[in-house]
């Protein structure tokens, strides 16, 4: 079982860095639940 299993994830992405949907895709199978996800854009 992974370290994220059972955890609630808050994903704060950035458009010029790593966006939240990319993180969601990477941790979808980790056993953690995404409870809030946002991507900032500073342009």
């Amino acid at each position: 079982m992974g370290k994220l299993s059972g955890k609630k994830l808050i994903l704060l992405g950035e458009r010029d860095g790593v966006a939240s949907p990319a993180m969601e895709a990477c941790f979808a199978g980790s056993g953690a639940e995404v409870v809030f996800s946002a991507t900032a854009c500073f342009v």
Binding site: G2, L9, L11, L12, E14, V18, C26, G29, F36
Partner: protein, 109 residues
């Protein structure tokens, strides 16, 4: 960090318990990553939002932190994140967040 996001984070921490929540950052610059990390651990440094004076102490990591990368789906990482991993200073980003985590987080992975 904008005020709506601060409120959503505060709500999630109260609903699920700070010890059950993990914050992952995808910031492109170390200074911004540090400010985000400070906001979800020590409180809003600008004293403008709902987290002003609220020290949630959430465990916060940059997505490039090796501990977090190790938990990611390898294929999805390659497809979605590896490009940015090549162009950004991953050690500096992860280190900036780790500094705040070491000072202010109440729990870690």
């Amino acid at each position: 960090m904008d005020l709506q996001n601060q409120q959503r984070i505060l709500d999630a921490a109260q609903k699920y318990g700070a010890e059950n929540v993990i914050v992952l950052l995808g910031s492109a610059d170390a200074e911004g990553a540090g400010l985000y990390a400070e906001t979800v651990t020590a409180g809003d440094p600008t004293y403008a939002g709902p987290l002003a004076g609220v020290s949630l102490g959430l465990p916060v990591y940059h997505v490039f932190d090796e501990v977090i990368k190790a938990e990611a789906d390898k294929g999805a990482w390659e497809e979605q994140i590896s490009m940015m991993e090549m162009v950004l200073d991953t050690q500096k980003l992860a280190g900036s967040v780790a500094d705040m985590r070491d000072q202010h987080s109440k729990s870690k992975l």
